[in-house]
Amino acid sequence: MENGILALVFYIFSGIIVGSGIMVVTLKNIFHSALFLVLCLFSVAGIYILLSAEFVAAVQVLIYVGAITVLMIFAIMLTAQLYSTSVRQSNEQVIPGIIIVVTLLVVTLVALSRTSWRVVSQGIEGQTTISIGKALLTTYVLPFEVVSLVLIAALIGAIIIARKE
């Protein structure tokens, strides 16, 4: 019974992710695709909850939905001529793109179905937030500091690139 509900939730979220993802890459109005990107990222957070990764889901909502897409919409407002449908949004590579993507998908799915993973039957017990916090400040403290340096350098670089001379 519980498995059935989990499967239903998984298929609902997957449908939303795939549908809104297709909308993101095909819509003519770039602002509407940014809004569908928000929907897609929210559903990915739902998938994380299904995989018992609550902390990653919270980070996904805060950073992706809260920060990155707002940044995208901000840039769209600054640059695009909204509601002008005369500007073509896709180039002439649509047909080759479809062929490449379908080939890639088929190859990936065949490779997936032929691989046997060593799946562990037990799930994740308890809260993952505690163990993530401990791991980030003990085992992974060096990558943690390095990635914070990368972030601050990228943000300073973004300010310097975008400011007026």
Partner: protein, 102 residues
């Protein structure tokens, strides 16, 4: 029963959609949004492997947090470059930005 292969198939689908966007979008912001889809496909893979292969150590989830951080940095730098391109060319269509092509 939803297993590892379901999540991996979902991730492959999302990755292919993102690749299609990168290949066909003319708007540079559209390309950046497709790249975010690619990042999310990879993150689903990481979290699914952390759940199904190695549930004791959640290395995959920690990697996902690093990927999200780098994605934030990438979005900031990318959008700054796009705003600069807009000032130079009065548009963000990438096929018009070809000054390094000859």
């Amino acid at each position: 029963m939803i297993g590892l292969n379901h999540y991996l198939a979902l991730s492959a689908l999302l990755f292919c959609i993102g690749i299609f966007g990168v290949l066909t979008r003319r708007n540079a912001i559209g390309i950046l949004m497709s790249i975010e889809l690619l990042f999310n496909a990879v993150n689903i893979n990481f979290v699914a492997f952390a759940r199904f292969i190695n549930p004791q150590e959640i290395t995959g989830q920690i990697f996902t947090i690093f990927v999200i951080t780098v994605a934030a940095a990438e979005a900031a730098v990318g959008l700054a470059i796009i705003i600069l391109i807009y000032r130079q060319h009065k548009g963000v269509e990438v096929d018009r930005v070809n000054i390094m092509k000859w």
